[in-house]
């Protein structure tokens, strides 16, 4: 029997992206630079997170022609963002042939209580998380890939690190719990019980987990890989830097050779200015994109 768009096929694409870098791009020219640098996929959008942050207003799904024009020039997978809960934007992206949909806190949420029922789609979804409960709720809704949220558009890796450490330590705690404590753990973290059981048994998420939100240097990428993520999303960090080509290539190399400090020293040389960053404590609560998601 042939099965199109099964959960295995959805998670399978994420498995193929592992050890790779997914880069935010806003034009076909940027998409070509990303592919040339060795990106394993691109995220097609209208504005990168740091511009969304600077310009304010409501951030929505990109114009379909931006996504189509990018799909036309690269052979690697093209992802696109829909607003949290906006299942019609998601349907449009699916119809366009986007390879993955990011139901993303970078855009302005369309629903303040509910996320998209992602089981209902043939196209796979990736969603953000700050902790294990949030990751398992998204997987319960059908996400086939997870990314730690970090704080998008800041060029500051501290939140990505915090979210990854939180997820890892919460998973370790579950593996040590006796069976009778797991139901209460599921209740406390607001996570589906069957997925809590899965993590308690396997010590890992049932889907691939990438890092996102604040990665700006090859060393940032290698740091996240050493903390145990499967791959890297870079948003504003490449095309808001002084030399996008060199930096993109360096981040790809650092993600593969993340344990090789000598090579990382070579890779990190002469990359020009990184994007100028934002100290997280200067952001007000409403400016923190990571708070979006339920």
């Amino acid at each position: 029997m042939t099965d199109v768009g099964s959960f295995k096929v959805k998670t399978g694409l994420a498995e193929m992206l592992k050890g790779g870098v997914i880069m935010d791009v806003t034009t076909p020219e940027q998409a070509i630079i990303a592919e040339e640098a060795g990106a394993c996929a691109v995220m097609a959008l209208e504005r990168v997170p740091s511009d969304i942050r600077a310009e304010g207003g409501v951030a929505r799904m990109a114009d379909p022609s931006i996504i189509k024009n990018i799909m036309a020039v690269v052979s690697i997978p093209v992802m696109a963002k829909a607003r949290i809960g906006h299942f019609v934007e998601a349907r449009i992206l699916e119809a366009l042939g986007a390879d993955y949909i990011d139901e993303s806190e970078v855009l302005t949420p369309a629903d303040d209580s509910y996320h998209i029922n992602k089981h209902d789609f043939k196209v796979p979804f990736v969603c953000g998380c700050r902790n294990l409960g949030e990751a398992l709720r998204r997987i319960g809704e059908g996400a086939a890939m997870i990314r730690t949220k970090g704080e998008p558009g800041t060029g500051n890796v501290v939140e990505a690190v915090r979210h990854m450490r939180t997820v890892m330590s919460e998973m370790r705690a579950l593996t040590l719990m006796p069976q009778e404590e797991l139901m209460t753990a599921a209740k406390d973290m607001g996570a589906p019980y069957d997925l809590v059981l899965y993590v308690a048994e396997h010590g890992k998420l049932p889907v691939v987990n990438f890092a996102a939100g604040g990665i700006a240097t090859p060393a940032d990428a290698a740091l996240m890989m050493q903390l145990g993520v499967d791959g890297i999303f870079v948003g504003s960090g490449i095309f808001k830097s002084g030399d996008p080509k060199a930096r993109a290539k360096a981040i790809v190399m650092a993600t593969t050779h993340y344990k090789d400090a000598k090579l990382l020293a070579e890779i990190s040389k002469d990359l020009g200015q990184p994007m100028s960053g934002i100290e997280i404590s200067t952001l007000t609560e409403s400016q923190r994109m990571q708070e979006r998601g339920w």
Binding site: M1, T2, D3, V4, G5, S6, K8, V9, G12, L13, E15, M16, L17, K18, G19, G20, E35, A37, G38, A39, C40, A41, S75, I76, P77, E94, G97, D99, Y100, K122, V123, P124, K249, V252, M253, T255, T256, H257, D260
Partner: protein, 192 residues
């Protein structure tokens, strides 16, 4: 003696191949640098993005060393992106390749991700039971030279082949629990 098998670990689903090989009793080396190729008896090139892996193969001349080993009869098995990298001809692309198999490959030949699928394949070389095969933005072979043996087709498209010491599949045997394809590859190492 345990067989020493390398899995190219530049990008993609290398961990899954490692797990299958370990289940089958192999000593597995993750290959990132040229020196990691020393002493292995066979190599798996996993699924991933063939353009990404191709760029990373240029670092440290690791791709050139794999070409030499393949030409010298070391068994190599490529899945999906690995099939693309092994082929001499890639339709409409000048991307880096290992240039070892006399095959013409078309990338993303079944369509974009929304068209990705799993199905039951008949593979006579693996016995009568069908093989569950997962195709993800998969390629297929448009043409093969007479010296390339066809092990499986899907709807008339060539998706699994062997050419001497080289094996290539358009699908992902590392994503299912059926280990027959990996066992077939290990038998190739034994014959070698």
């Amino acid at each position: 003696m345990k067989k020493r098998v390398g899995v190219l670990a530049l990008q993609g689903a290398f961990r899954e191949h490692r797990q299958v090989l370990e289940k089958l009793g192999c000593d597995v080396t993750e290959v990132r640098r040229t020196s990691d190729l020393d002493g292995i008896q066979g190599l798996i090139i996993p699924g991933g993005e063939s353009t990404t892996i191709g760029k990373l193969l240029r670092i440290d001349e690791i791709g050139e060393r794999i070409k030499e080993l393949g030409a010298k009869d070391m068994p190599i098995f490529g899945t999906c992106a690995g099939m693309i990298l092994l082929s001499k001809t890639i339709v409409d692309s000048d991307q880096y390749r290992l240039n070892l198999m006399d095959t013409v490959v078309e990338r993303n030949a079944f369509g974009r991700q929304v068209a990705s699928f799993e199905t039951d394949l008949q593979v006579p070389a693996l016995g009568v039971n069908p093989l569950r095969a997962v195709f993800i933005r998969a390629p297929y072979l448009k043409e093969v030279a007479p010296n390339v043996g066809i092990l499986a087709e899907y709807n008339g498209k060539i998706v699994f082949v062997r050419q001497g010491n080289l094996l290539a599949s358009a699908f992902h045997p590392e994503l299912t629990s059926d280990n027959r394809v990996h066992q077939y590859f290990l038998n190739m190492i034994d014959e070698h």
